[in-house]
Amino acid sequence: MKTGLRKIEVLTVTALLGATAVPAYGEAGAAGAYRWLTFSVFAAVIALTMYITYRAAKRVKSAADFYTAGGGISGLQNGWAIAGDYLSAASFLGIAGLISLYGYDGFMYSVGWLVAYITVLLLIAEPCRNIGKYTLADILAYRNDPKKTRIVGALSVITVSTFYLTAQMVGGGVLVKTLIGIDYEVSVVAVGVLMLSYVLFGGMVATTWVQIVKAILLVVASVVIVMLVWTPYGFSLPAFMQDVVADPKVQARVATLLGDPARNMSAAELGQRFLEPGLYFKAPIDQISLGMALVFGTAGLPHILMRFFTVPTAQAARRSVVWAMVIIGGFYVLTLFLGFGAAKHVGPATIAGVDAGGNMAGPLLAQYIGGGADSFLGNFMLAFVSAVAFATIVAVVAGLVLAAASAMAHDLWVGVVHGGETVPAASQVRAARVATVLVGAMAIAIGIAAKGQNVAVLVGLAFAVAASANFPCVLLTLYWKRCNTTGVVAGMIVGTLAAVGLTLVSPNLTYPKAVRAAAHTVLDAQAAQRASIAAALASGDGDAAAKARTSATALDKAVAKANADIAKVAGQETSFTGLEAPLFTLKNPGLISIPLGFLAVLLGSLLGRDKRSEDMWDEMYARQNTGLLVSRAEGH
């Protein structure tokens, strides 16, 4: 009953936005005649991952198998797995969506996600493989005080993973609901339970192979769609883009985004504007700050760092990053076609109507390319892309849970509670599984509790904490002789607090007074605009009347949104941190919090003294560069 109602809402919204060429999505999504097809494709993909888990479960015997697949993954395999881990729903569906809605800015956004891997390749991957074992804190604890650095390292890993995990669970729940029409809570539980079954039984072996298979499916699906989109243009980039900017749907979108200044622009100018910067990113400084968080944060993401312990040598770690860069970069180039193709064929208004963030651009394009909502092939492609999206969420969540669980079990329980004494292998694996269940249950609970919240900010925050706390601590431990325990502890605390604190007072939160003020501005201007629209309609000029009708539709939408906004913040005066207005203007704190994190490590190290940090330097620096005594899992 409830699902039915929601479907009607989707249909109505799509209809209101003037979807003509593309039939409403909601119908094909779940309730249509092809529902069985969607479920069969989902079942096939899930069955494949369960088979992988079943095979993997037999191979997981020791803690090393559980955390790092026994170090037996090859460079090429790990490259695919990194791509599978990294191409989360946010980058796979989100970037195609941003391009389809905002053109150039969406594509520019994707660049930072690739460049981030240069930092990983040059500075982080090989040294970490040479001196590390299972976790990020292993690196910090090598030369610094093991207990202290394991505690701060593990807490930071759990913090970053929880932020990222929450964003994935909530985003995933919404997405699965939109894709196949099951309830939000059911989707969250389904993602959680499936993920738990991979990690619990198959550990890193299953997680790795699920990520590899998912990345391959994702790339294959994208290549097929891009080929179909691009073939009519004889694989000419200018011809394809020419058609995109000449599309009335795209031109109408740019006119809506620009508002008043668009009045004097010709259709061709509006279309061309889609390929120019500034439709999404308004404040340049925000973009630079976000870029810093991406480029330095990726190297501090625990679930990515952990992947380098699954390969046997530094050479394999290097190869895996290069492969990952080829796959991830190639994928973002394909996304360029997916995004612009969706803008042309489906239309930005229709995409935004199904999901305001544009997440459905890729799946909708797949449906269109296959022959539309009434065709078998169209629905098969939709179902396939949806199933891959679902596998993506589950695989990324699995990697995150494994990272958080390893911090709890390996760093806190084995390292800190048992003081690093040798804990029997069997009880290490048991601890890892208990931690996995704890983190998994927490992920499901948070996912359900955070229903309806705007969690997009959490992905940015995860990158910001990783860049401001983890990255400076790992980098300076590896490369700066004078770095010591005090510096690492100070860097972790200052970096995390700065990133989280600045976000809590940033414009990302909802400020009821500002929302009300903005809404009232729209409502107050309504009368004057209605008058000018009425005048234009009465003037008898056909062109002006047509423009006026478009403005009237836009105005109705704006008024409805303003009223909804006012209703949402009714009775509230301050943001949930008790502020009436943001104290800090940057949306992403990176620009300030990353230098603060580095400064804290520097000052802490200079002020503190730690004999172990100094004594161990020679050993660590020699090992990270030569690969002497590289840790290979026992019994392999």
Binding site: Y104, D105, F107, M108, V111, G112, L114, V115, Y117, I118, T119, L121, L122, L123, E126, L237, P238, A239, M241, Q242, V245, G271, Q272, L275, E276, P277, G278, F281, P284, Q287, I288, G291, V295, Q315, R318, R319, V321, V322, M325, V326, G329, Y332, V333, D618, E619, Y621, A622, N625, T626, G627, L628, L629
Partner: protein
């Protein structure tokens, strides 16, 4: 497995080959890192402050901004490939030589 205490780590660091490896790595790694960061941030800076340049049409409707964004991919890949070649040829050989001399497994 060899015990870490069995290896004279200060001697490894003091070895001329290690010093050479260290110097080369510092130059190559941080040089490429600086190049990559500078080239990347030219994109958001250009998109924000040089919009007139980014708008110039070069190849059909494709403008400077779009081609520049595409060049970011090419540059990132080129840096990765260049680094791999240097590391595979030079760094790995030196590291393996040093490791072979100092590890002395089993027999001791």
């Amino acid at each position: 497995m060899t015990n870490p205490e069995a290896i004279n780590w200060s001697a490894v660091i003091a070895d001329p080959r290690f010093q050479k490896l260290h110097r080369r790595k510092i130059t190559v790694l941080w040089g490429l890192m600086a190049l990559s960061v500078v080239y990347y941030f030219l994109l958001p800076v250009g998109a924000a402050y040089f919009q007139e340049v980014f708008r110039i049409r070069v190849w059909g409707v494709l403008n400077v901004g779009l081609l520049f964004a595409l060049s970011e991919f090419v540059v990132a890949w080129a840096i990765a490939v260049y680094y791999s070649r240097v590391a595979n040829r030079e760094f790995d050989r030196l590291a393996a030589e040093i490791a072979a001399d100092f590890a002395k497994p089993r027999a001791g």
